[in-house]
C-alpha cells in the first residue's frame, strides 16, 4: 500500500455520506480542543461518516461517530485522517 493511501484523506475532504475509519489524528494540531474531541468519541480506529456541511463556506462539518452526530469546524476536521472502509 502506498504511503498516501495509508495516510488517508483529510476528514474535511472526505466525501459526505461515506463511512470511513479514522487512522490518524494530529492531536498537537488540535491544541486545547484535543481533549474535548477525544471526549466526544474521536479516536484512531473509530468509524466516522461525514453527514452535513454548513451552508456558508461548507463549514462546520457534522459527522457521525458511533451513534452520535458531532459538529466540528473544518480546521479541526483537517487534523483527522480517514481511510475508506474496505467494501
Amino acid at each position: 500500500m502506498s504511503e498516501a493511501a495509508e495516510a488517508g484523506l483529510r476528514l474535511d475532504e472526505f466525501p459526505l455520506k461515506t463511512v470511513g475509519v479514522i487512522n490518524r489524528i494530529d492531536w498537537d494540531l488540535l491544541g486545547e480542543g484535543a481533549r474535548r474531541l477525544r471526549e466526544l468519541g474521536f479516536a484512531e480506529g473509530v468509524e466516522v461518516e461525514p453527514l452535513h456541511r454548513g451552508f456558508i463556506g461548507r463549514d462546520p462539518l457534522a459527522c457521525r461517530i458511533g451513534r452520535m452526530t458531532i459538529a466540528i469546524r473544518r480546521v479541526q476536521a483537517a487534523a483527522i485522517r480517514v481511510s475508506p472502509t474496505p467494501a
Binding site: 466526544l40 453527514l51 456558508i56 451513534r67 458531532i70
Partner: protein, 616 residues
C-alpha cells in the same frame, strides 16, 4: 437534625438527566447557585420506599472528570465530595443514554472507578429500541460491577426500580470523599468494548434523526427553515399575546376600580392606585410575551433543534469571532439577558464566553418591549408601507436589527481588543430529535414566569413606589409655575441629569424616568405613567391613555432618540449584577456599563441631531 443524604445525578450532556431529575422530584425543586462560582445548583427531595428522604442534586452535563469549564469543575468537585458548601454524596446515579452506550460509558467507567456507591440508569431505552438496539442490562451490570436500571424518564418508566436501588445504596448512610485518578487514555476503548459486549442485537433502526437532519441541515432548506422558525417565533410573541395582555389589563383596571371605591381619596389610595397597581401592572402585562418566547426556546431546545441552529449559525458567528454556541445564549437574551448570560456557561472558550456576555444586553429583551410599543404607538403613524407590512411593525423590526447589528460590531471590536486571542473552536453534539414532554415544558415555563413575577413584585414594585413617593413630595405650593413632579425630590435629582441628556434631546420627564429604569427597563414606562398621574390636573386627564399624552408633549426627534437610547443603554441592574457574578469581579461589568452607555449616548444623539436636521 442531620441533613438528608445527598445523591448526585451525573452524566453526559443529552443523556436525559434533567428529565429524569424532573420525573424523580416533580415540582419540588430548588434552583440556587454554588457559592463563589456561577454554576446553577438544582436540587430536589426524593422520598425513598422506606420513607427516608434524600436530597437529589442534578449536576451539569459533563464529558469527563477532567474539567474544561466551570460547570464541569463543579460536577467533579461535588462527585468527589470536595465542593464547598456541599456534603459528600452518599451515592451516585449515573445517567447514560442507551442509544449512545459506547460513548456515554466512557464517563460512566471513569465515575465507577471512583468506588462510590453507584447505580447506572440506562435511560432512553425506548429511543435505543427505535434505533434497533437491544441491550442486555444484566450483562452490562456484570461488566460494570454496579447495578443497572432501565429507565425512560420522559415516560416515567423504571423510576420505582431506580428508587429501590438508591434506597439500597444509601443504606449505609455514609458520605464519601475520594480523589480523581490521573486521566486514563484507554478508557474510551474500554467503553467501546463493554458496549459491544452488552449490546445483544443491533439492526438498522429507523434513523429518524438522520432523516430529519437530511432536510433540516441541507444547505438550501436548512437556513430557510431556521429563518421561518425565527419568524414564526417573533410573530407569535406579538400575535398570541394580544388576548392575554387584554385580560391582564382588564384585571388591573378592575382592581384599581375596586381599590378606588373602597378607599377614601388620600395618600393610601393614591399610593396603591398610582404607585402599585399602575406601576406593577404596566410591567406584568408583558408576562405573556416573555412566556411565549421562552416556550419556543424550551420546545426547540428539548426537541433537539437548538444545536442544529447553532450548527448553521456557526460560520456567521465565526465572522465576528464567536462560535455557533453563542447563538443559544443570544437567542435567550431576546427574552431576557439574565438567563442568556447564564447560558453562556456552555461556551468553553473563555474569550468567546466573555464576548458573548458583553454583547448579550444588546439583544432586544422583552423588557424593552413596553418602552418600544408605547413610543411607537404614540409617534409612528399606523399606516401601511406595503402589502401586509405596517410602518409601526417595520420600526419595531428595525430596532431589533439595530440591536443585532450593534452587537455584531461590538463583538468584532471586543474580539480584536479586550478579548483578543485565537478563535475558539466549535465542537458540539447534535442530539437525537425527541418529542418534548409537556410536564418538562410546563415546569420550565413556570420557573421563568415565577422569576419574572417575583421581580415585578419586588424590584419593580419597590422602585415604582419609591419613585411615586419621591415625585409626590414635597408638595408643590399653590400657584407655583412648576409642576408637582418638577418641584419634588425626584424632579430636582432629574434636573441634574437633564443637563447631561439635554444635548441628545431628552426632556425633564425622560431624565426622571431614567433613574428608576436602572432597576428594570420597563419601569421607564411605569415611571412616566406615574409622573403623569401625579401631575394630572384632574381625574379626566389622569385617565387619558399614556401614549396620547406623550404624543402631545414630546417632539418626534426626542421620541426617536429615546428609542435609540433603549437599544443600547445597559438599563438594568440585574444584568450588571449577573455579569459581575459570571465574570467574577467588577472589571467586566464596569466595562460593559461604560461602553453601552457611551454607545447609547452617541446613538441617541446622532438620531436626535439628524432627525432635527431633517426637520421631523
Amino acid at each position: 437534625m442531620k441533613a438528608a443524604p445527598l445523591v448526585a445525578l451525573v452524566g453526559n450532556p443529552n443523556a436525559g438527566k434533567s428529565s429524569l431529575f424532573n420525573a424523580l422530584t416533580g415540582a419540588r425543586q430548588k434552583v440556587a447557585n454554588y457559592p463563589g462560582v456561577t454554576v446553577e445548583r438544582r436540587s430536589g427531595r426524593l422520598v425513598l420506599g422506606d420513607g427516608r428522604p434524600v436530597e437529589l442534586v442534578d449536576l451539569p452535563g459533563t464529558y469527563s472528570l477532567h474539567p474544561a469549564s466551570p460547570d464541569e469543575a463543579v460536577t467533579r468537585d461535588v462527585v468527589i465530595g470536595r465542593q464547598q458548601g456541599e456534603q459528600p454524596p452518599a451515592a451516585l446515579v449515573i445517567v447514560v443514554d442507551a442509544s449512545n452506550l459506547d460513548h456515554h460509558l466512557r464517563f460512566a467507567i471513569e465515575l465507577i472507578g471512583l468506588g462510590l456507591p453507584t447505580v447506572v440508569a440506562l435511560n432512553m431505552v425506548d429511543l435505543a429500541a427505535r434505533d434497533g438496539l437491544t441491550i442486555d442490562a444484566g450483562r452490562l451490570s456484570a461488566l460494570l460491577g454496579v447495578p443497572v436500571v432501565e429507565t425512560v424518564a420522559v415516560r416515567r418508566r423504571g423510576l420505582d426500580d431506580l428508587r429501590a436501588e438508591v434506597e439500597r445504596l444509601v443504606e449505609r448512610d455514609q458520605a464519601h470523599v475520594v480523589t480523581v485518578p490521573p486521566e486514563d487514555p484507554g478508557v474510551a476503548a474500554r467503553a467501546r468494548l463493554v458496549a459491544r459486549d452488552a449490546i445483544q442485537s443491533e439492526r438498522a433502526g429507523r434513523h429518524v434523526t438522520r432523516a430529519i437532519d437530511g432536510l433540516v441541515l441541507s444547505p438550501f432548506a436548512g437556513p430557510l427553515i431556521l429563518a421561518a422558525i425565527l419568524f414564526v417565533m417573533f410573530q407569535a410573541v406579538f400575535a398570541w399575546s394580544e388576548a392575554p395582555i387584554g385580560w391582564i389589563e382588564g384585571g388591573m383596571e378592575l382592581l384599581a376600580g375596586a381599590v378606588s371605591s373602597f378607599l377614601p381619596d388620600g395618600f393610601l389610595r393614591n399610593l396603591l392606585v398610582e404607585g402599585v397597581i399602575n406601576g406593577v401592572g404596566s410591567v406584568v402585562v408583558f408576562l405573556p410575551q416573555i412566556l411565549i418566547l421562552f416556550l419556543f426556546i424550551l420546545v426547540l431546545e428539548a426537541a433537539g433543534y437548538m444545536a442544529r441552529a447553532a450548527f448553521m449559525m456557526d460560520r456567521l458567528m465565526a465572522g465576528v469571532g464567536l462560535s455557533g454556541r453563542a447563538f443559544i445564549p443570544l437567542l435567550s437574551s431576546f427574552a431576557c439577558a439574565i438567563p442568556g448570560i447564564m447560558a453562556t456557561r456552555t461556551i468553553d472558550n473563555p474569550r468567546d464566553r466573555l464576548t458573548t456576555i458583553l454583547i448579550a444586553p444588546l439583544m432586544t429583551c422583552s423588557a424593552r418591549l413596553p418602552v418600544y410599543t408605547l413610543i411607537i404607538a404614540a409617534f409612528i403613524p399606523a399606516r401601511s408601507v406595503g402589502p401586509g407590512i405596517g410602518l409601526q411593525g417595520l420600526v419595531l423590526f428595525g430596532l431589533y436589527v439595530v440591536g443585532i447589528v450593534g452587537a455584531m460590531l461590538a463583538a468584532l471590536l471586543i474580539r480584536r481588543t479586550v478579548a483578543r486571542g485565537a478563535a475558539g473552536g466549535f465542537m458540539m453534539e447534535l442530539p437525537k430529535y425527541q418529542l418534548p414532554r409537556l410536564g418538562d415544558l410546563a415546569l420550565g415555563l413556570w420557573q421563568r414566569a415565577w422569576m419574572f413575577l417575583r421581580r415585578a413584585g419586588t424590584i419593580i414594585m419597590f422602585s415604582t413606589v419609591l419613585l411615586w413617593l419621591l415625585a409626590s413630595f414635597p408638595r408643590v405650593p399653590e400657584g407655583s409655575p412648576m409642576t408637582q413632579s418638577e418641584y419634588s425630590v425626584a424632579g430636582r435629582i432629574a434636573s441634574g441629569i437633564e443637563h447631561v441628556v439635554r444635548p441628545i434631546g431628552f426632556n425633564h420627564e425622560i431624565a426622571l424616568a431614567l433613574i428608576p429604569a436602572m432597576a428594570a427597563r420597563e419601569v421607564a414606562v411605569s415611571a412616566i405613567a406615574t409622573v403623569y398621574a401625579i401631575d394630572a390636573p384632574d381625574e379626566e386627564t389622569a385617565t387619558l391613555a399614556l401614549g396620547e399624552r406623550l404624543a402631545g408633549r414630546w417632539s418626534l426627534p426626542t421620541a426617536l432618540a429615546f428609542l435609540m437610547w433603549f437599544v443600547f443603554a445597559p438599563q438594568c441592574i440585574s444584568t450588571i449584577a449577573v455579569t459581575r457574578r459570571e465574570t467574577n469581579g467588577w472589571k467586566w461589568p464596569t466595562f460593559m456599563v461604560v461602553y453601552l452607555f457611551g454607545l447609547a449616548y452617541l446613538a441617541a444623539g446622532a438620531t436626535y441631531w439628524s432627525a432635527v436636521a431633517l426637520g421631523l
